[in-house]
């Protein structure tokens, strides 16, 4: 019985296979394929053998093609620079091995228009290769004088480091500076130029105390000794009686009166009325100004609306040092502090660490700084507390972050004769206007701009008018852009921009000896492939490239009609079924 069944089954299988083969059915389904990888060789003369090695290695797992195809799953670039045309992502790069030491200045960070009464930090970002154990010398020079010099011994082979340098302007005006980096053993030095346009500008700061406050008084005194600030103050000593210095506004809820100041410092903020708080909010949002609240006690008051803090924690200890989160080492000291139990979303700490005693938060285009160091004013001894320096620096940062009515910037700021310079101008009033196109009755925002390009002599006086500059509106409201061809004559040039009653200027330097910070082609290729989801490998790590490709790309699936019966392998089960059935019959002597 069993034999009969088995024979029947085998016969059925054979018949089924034969029948299916005759019918030849087609099936449509998603099917995985071997990924195709494009290997692009940028310089076949030098990198052909490397490309062959890559292809040989990748062939084990992928279909390798040498020309770009639409169905490629990834691209491997063999060479030392990004290709001119875009490629299929993810992109990987294979670089030839190199151990030659080299240094390049990747970026030069210079404050755009620092006050002349300050030291100007210049940060040079260096990319180093083969630098382990070598010494790096970086010097900053202005004209023919070296003004700063840093020497470092490098511990890593390939690394990127920031070298802080500083420049002290001898007078207001634009100055070209040059950073020169020399790595011992490297064939060449790296040079980059920059422009420092020191301004004789003073930041207007308003102190407003609804009642006399020692904290505010001593912060104000610190600023009054700093030539970078112009301090105006009002201290309400009694109802209707105040002590004014300068010409403070009568009320805080008048934006037009308040917009003169970059920073408004409030002592004893619990004395502010709801109207005052609204005025300050408008000042921050519409003017982009900075408001500093100097608490000397913690009571619930209208200003809580600005801080967004739900609950406060107060703590009294022996005086502790509150470390600044800036790169300087200035610290504040206080014994009585209040701080938010949970820092509001978007807020950043200025001083205090685990206890964010001084912090700031964006409010519209402006910012709010809150100090909960209630008795920091009592610790003003410079040997133990940086009270004065802290507040001078913090308020300088706050003032610099407040945009002037019109800003204009040239990019690049130092260029060769005949090179194109792009000028970006922003009209604050228009830029910070809350414009809602979908609101019924919305009125268009108007901003006009006129500009003049002039050449500046060494003494800083305009010697000859060059030409007018035509700005065109940029993508955003209140923003304008212009492109100007740099004059052929080397020198310092100024673009003076006027919008209504406000004016601004930007300078650029035309020089015949321009060296820009730039990323080396290898580093650029590294960044290029990272931006495309891949990584760069060296020739000695080809296997790593293969593994990275395998883990990054998925085999492509696509809908396909296929014919399962067309496989030659069907002959095996067919033959087996027939043979087995015949053998069973022979054993039973049925055949």
């Amino acid at each position: 019985m069993n034999d009969a069944l088995v024979r029947l089954a085998l016969r059925s299988i054979a018949v089924t296979i034969a029948t299916a083969a005759l019918i030849d059915p087609g099936v449509t389904s998603n099917r995985a394929q071997r990924p195709t990888v494009v290997v692009t060789v940028l310089n076949p003369e030098t990198d052909a053998s490397l490309a062959s090695d890559v292809a040989k290695t990748l062939n084990r797992k992928f279909d390798v093609v040498r020309t770009p195809v639409a169905a490629a799953s990834a691209t491997v670039v063999v060479g030392g620079r990004p290709p001119d045309t875009d490629v299929t992502a993810p992109a990987f790069a294979l670089l030839s091995d190199t151990t030659a030491p080299s240094v390049s200045i990747e970026r030069l960070v210079v404050p755009p228009t620092p006050p002349s009464e300050s030291r100007v930090p210049v940060v040079a970002r260096m990319t180093l290769h083969g630098a382990r154990g070598r010494s790096l010398d970086v010097s900053l020079s202005a004209g023919a004088s070296t003004v700063d010099h840093v020497a470092r011994r490098i511990a890593a082979t390939d690394t990127t480091i920031d070298i802080p340098l500083s420049f002290v302007p001898t007078a207001p005006g634009a100055a070209a500076v040059r950073v020169t980096a020399t790595l011992s053993g490297a064939k060449s030095t790296s040079v980059a130029n920059g422009e420092i346009d020191a301004r004789d500008r003073r930041w207007p700061v308003l102190f407003y105390d609804p009642r006399p406050s020692w904290t505010s008084t001593f912060v104000r005194r610190a600023l009054e000794r700093d030539p970078r600030f112009v301090v105006t103050s009002r201290v309400e000593t009694s109802r209707g009686v105040s002590t004014d210095a300068g010409k403070p506004p009568a009320y805080l809820n008048d934006l037009s009166a308040l917009s003169t100041w970059d920073v408004v410092v409030i002592g004893a903020p619990e004395g502010l009325s709801a109207d005052d708080v609204t005025g300050l909010d408008t000042f921050m949002r519409r003017r982009g100004g900075s408001v500093v609240l100097l608490l000397d006690q913690r009571v619930a008051a209208p200003y809580d609306r600005l801080t967004g803090v739900a609950t406060w924690t107060s703590r009294t200890t022996t005086s502790t040092s509150l470390a600044s989160f800036r790169r300087d080492s200035i610290s504040l000291r206080a014994a009585e502090v209040v701080f938010p139990s949970a820092l509001p979303i978007g807020a950043t700490i200025i001083a205090g660490g685990a206890q964010p005693v001084v912090w700031q938060t964006p409010v519209g285009a402006g910012r709010l700084i809150v100090s909960g160091a209630l008795d920091a004013w009592q610790f003003r001894d410079p040997s133990t507390s940086g009270f004065e320096l802290f507040w001078r620096q913090t308020l300088a940062d706050a003032a610099a972050a407040s945009p002037p009515p019109v800003t204009v910037a040239a990019s690049p700021a130092i260029l060769s004769p005949g090179e194109q310079v792009t000028l970006h101008a922003t009209v604050r009033a228009a830029s910070l206007t809350e414009f809602r196109n979908d609101r019924p009755g919305a009125r268009p925002v108007r901003a006009t701009l006129s500009a003049l390009l002039t050449s500046i002599g060494e003494t800083g006086t305009a010697t000859a008018v060059s030409r007018e500059v035509a700005f065109t509106p940029d993508a955003d409201i209140g923003q304008f852009v212009a492109t100007v061809r740099a004059p052929d004559r080397p020198g310092v040039y100024s673009v003076d921009v006027t919008s209504g009653t406000s004016a601004a200027d930007a300078t650029f330097i035309v020089s015949t000896d321009v060296h820009r910070a730039h990323v080396s082609s290898r580093d650029l290729l590294g960044a290029w492939v990272r931006a495309r989801g891949g990584r760069a490998f060296t020739a000695s790590n080809i296997d790593g490239l293969s593994s990275a490709l395998a883990s990054t790309i998925l085999p492509p699936n696509h809908l396909e009609k296929w014919y399962p019966m067309r496989s030659a392998w069907w002959i095996v089960p067919f033959a087996f079924a027939l043979s087995a059935e015949w053998w069973l019959r022979r054993r039973r002597e049925l055949a």
């Binding site: 960070v109 404050p111 755009p112 620092p114 006050p115 300050s118 030291r119 100007v120 930090p121 020079s141 023919a144 004088s145 070296t146 003004v147 500083s166 420049f167 002290v168 001898t170 020692w214 700093d226 030539p227 600030f229 112009v230 301090v231 105006t232 103050s233 000593t237 009686v241 105040s242 002590t243 004014d244 210095a245 921050m284 982009g288 009294t316 022996t318 005086s319 009585e336 509001p344 979303i345 978007g346 964006p362 409010v363 519209g364 285009a365 402006g366 008795d375 320096l389 001078r392 620096q393 300088a396 610099a400 972050a401 945009p403 800003t407 922003t426 830029s431 910070l432 955003d476 209140g478």
Partner: protein, 693 residues
């Protein structure tokens, strides 16, 4: 025969004299040669013509005497010398010479003398002993010596020791070398120090600095931070003196009628002679006695950085009461043990019995040490009191003003003691017990503090409750007085120390209130140290009542409210830092020189002048001293046509000046964001905060 003998004797004597003269000439020539060699070797110093002449003469005479002495043997054997030079005498003169002593007159003698006389009449001593070579040697040595001696006044190049040209090869005057001799003040007993071409000189205050300048110039001017003078020309050397009295510089400039050469700048650092340090080791504290029948054994330590001159113990007897005090000053002898001239220890006895002290009288004593400065560098130790108690009274502490006895019951020392005891049993105490004990000590600390607040004129009611705030010390009152402090009106050291003590007490009390005795103890000790300092420093605490505190109570509430007006002032204008302005100018000038394509002698002069100005900004700044030295070196390098060196030094000088400037300025802000970026951040924060939880 006698006549013949006399002729022979005269001849031999003449020969001996001639030989002596020639020996003297030879000796003098040798002496002059030695003097010449010494002069060439630099001794005596160039320019000292008088000394050089004396040395030469002495050397010549010495040489002559030595030579004459050495040649005395030859003169005794003059006959042999003549025989050697006149072979025809055939031993006749030697025989005659021997027969002359003793003189005998027989036939043989007669014959010998007669023949010898005939012979010597034919001989000439000048031929036998020619003077040509000794005289030539002497004259040659003399001439050469005179030439060497007269180098400074001869038209010789400076390299040969002459005054040199009055201008360098470039037609400008220049300085070849500077020798500086520092002579410390005589009272120090220290020797001279010599320096050659220094860039910086360090000298003790009062030192005399002698400057010898070898220059190719007609004049050399000398400028210091406070004076301008010309050096005196002595031969080829220009000499001047400076007294080291303050940090600064010595600028030297060679000049001719038409031109000024490159200035040479020498930084000058004046090291002050520090005053002596003196202290009374024993008893080292105030004492109170029931009667005056006793002696005080005193030990005093004194030291000085150079040398002590005297150490005395002075005392003042204070007697009387009320407003009729009398003061009598006196001294008591001390037995001094000198470990070395800088460190002395003295012992003495103050016999109170001999002072006839009455109850209530006191003796205030102190040690006074002086160093050897002629201007009188003296220092006094802290003063201590020995007081005779009045009958039935307690010690008049002099520092406690409240009559309530219990206010004095707890001293600061007692607070410390109690805190230490509390800390010792900290591990055995429960939290409640610790809090209770700690707060009890806090209350006592506040009590002590209150005494001193009262002493300073403060009202106790003004001080906030320490339990409510850290600001137990009325900081606001202190802040109001800040202007007084800044103006120096509170310069009384005792007053300041007492303020510090009160501040420390406040913090101690605050820590005790929150049960932190470990934190409180250092403050308590600080308070005690400051109290001791306050009372030892001046012995006097002025209870000054400022004008602000003098309230005319009769005028209170009598004004018109409408008179209360807005007080309007102009905005404060910060004063520009003169240091920053000056350093910026210096930096700008250095940059100008560095930017010059080809450095010339005028740049050298400018660099030298800038070096001087840099140092003038702050002579005591090490950074500026370095910058000044580099600028001076750059000036030299420019003058010497070493342009590469000059530029390297100018670079380093720029960096040093910038380093000095950096300390006076703050960093420019770097977080300058555009309005759009800021608006975007604000919008993001608004959106996140408005999101439902």
């Amino acid at each position: 025969m006698r006549a013949d003998a006399a002729v022979v004797r005269d001849f031999l004597a003449r020969g001996a004299r001639r030989l002596a003269v020639l020996s003297a000439a030879n000796g003098a020539a040798v002496g002059l040669t030695v003097a010449l060699a010494l002069a060439l070797a630099g001794w005596p110093r160039r320019g000292s013509m008088g000394t050089g002449a004396v040395v030469g003469v002495v050397a010549a005479i010495a040489g002559a005497l030595i030579s004459v002495f050495v040649s005395s043997g030859r003169r005794l054997k003059i006959a042999q010398s003549v025989e050697a030079r006149a072979p025809e005498s055939r031993n006749l003169l030697v025989t005659a010479d021997e027969l002359l002593v003793p003189p005998a007159y027989d036939y043989v003698h007669e014959l010998v003398f007669a023949r010898a006389a005939r012979l010597v009449r034919r001989l000439d001593a000048r031929t036998l002993f020619p003077a040509r070579i000794p005289v030539s040697a002497f004259v040659t040595a003399l001439v050469l010596w005179l030439l060497v001696l007269a180098r400074p006044v001869l038209p010789l190049p400076a390299s040969l020791g002459g005054p040199g040209a009055t201008a360098g090869a470039n037609g400008l005057p220049s300085i070849d070398a500077i020798d500086v001799v520092i002579q410390p003040p005589a009272y120090t007993g220290q020797g001279k120090t010599s320096l050659r071409d220094p860039s910086r000189v360090e000298a003790l205050a009062g030192s005399r600095i002698t400057i010898n300048v070898r220059a190719r110039a007609e004049r050399v001017s000398l400028e210091t931070i406070s004076a301008h003078d010309s050096l005196t020309k002595r031969g080829s050397i220009f000499v001047g003196n400076v007294v080291a009295d303050a940090d600064g510089y010595i600028a030297l400039q060679p000049t001719t009628a038409d031109h000024g050469g490159a200035r040479r700048l020498i930084g000058l650092t004046v090291l002050p002679d520090l005053p002596p340090r003196v202290r009374i080791v024993t008893p080292g504290h105030d004492q109170r006695f029931d009667d005056g029948h006793r002696q005080l054994e005193l030990t005093v330590d004194a030291s000085d950085d150079i040398a002590l001159a005297s150490l005395k113990l002075r005392f003042t007897k204070v007697s009387g009461s009320g407003e009729r005090f009398t003061f009598a000053e006196s001294e008591t002898p001390l037995s001094i043990t000198r470990r070395d001239e800088r460190t002395w220890t003295a012992h003495g006895t103050l016999n109170l019995d001999s002072l006839a002290l009455e109850p209530g009288d006191m003796v205030v004593y102190r040690a006074v040490a002086a160093d050897k400065r002629p201007t009188g560098g003296t220092a006094e130790s802290d003063s201590y009191i020995a007081e005779i108690l009045a009958p039935g009274g307690i010690a008049a502490s002099g520092f406690e003003t409240d009559p309530e006895q219990d206010r004095y019951a707890v001293s600061q020392q007692m607070v410390i003691l109690k805190t230490e005891r509390l800390l010792a049993r900290l591990s055995t105490l429960s939290a409640d017990s610790l809090q209770s004990a700690s707060q009890e000590i806090a209350a006592e600390q506040r009590k002590v503090r209150a005494e001193f607040v009262f002493m300073l004129g403060g009202e106790l009611a003004d001080a906030p409750d320490v339990t409510a705030s850290m600001t137990d010390l009325n900081e606001e009152q202190e802040a109001e007085g800040e202007a007084d402090i800044l103006a120096g009106r509170n310069a009384n050291a005792g007053h300041i120390a007492l303020l510090r003590a009160i501040r420390a007490m406040s913090r101690a009390a605050a820590s005790l209130t929150v049960s932190e005795p470990t934190t409180a103890l250092p403050y308590e000790r600080t308070a005690l140290t400051q109290l001791e300092s306050a009372f030892a420093r001046s012995r006097i605490l002025l209870r000054a009542l400022s004008t602000r505190e003098r309230l005319d109570l009769s005028r209170r509430l009598t004004g018109s409210l409408t008179d209360a007006a807005r007080d309007i002032e102009s905005s404060a204008e910060p004063a520009a830092s003169s240091r920053v302005v000056a350093l910026r100018r210096v930096l700008s000038e250095v940059a100008t020189i560095a930017g010059t394509k080809t450095l010339t002698s005028s740049n050298a002069s400018a660099a030298s002048a800038i070096a001087e100005r840099a140092l003038r900004v702050d002579p005591s700044s090490k950074t500026l001293q370095e910058a000044s030295s580099l600028l001076a070196a750059a000036a030299d390098a420019i003058a010497g046509k070493h342009e590469r060196d000059a530029r390297e030094r100018l670079d380093r000088a720029s960096s040093a000046i910038v380093a000095a400037l950096r300390t006076d300025l703050l960093d420019a802000p770097t977080n300058v964001a555009g309005a759009n970026d800021a608006r975007l951040s604000g919008a993001l924060v608004d959106a996140l905060r408005s999101r439902p939880e």
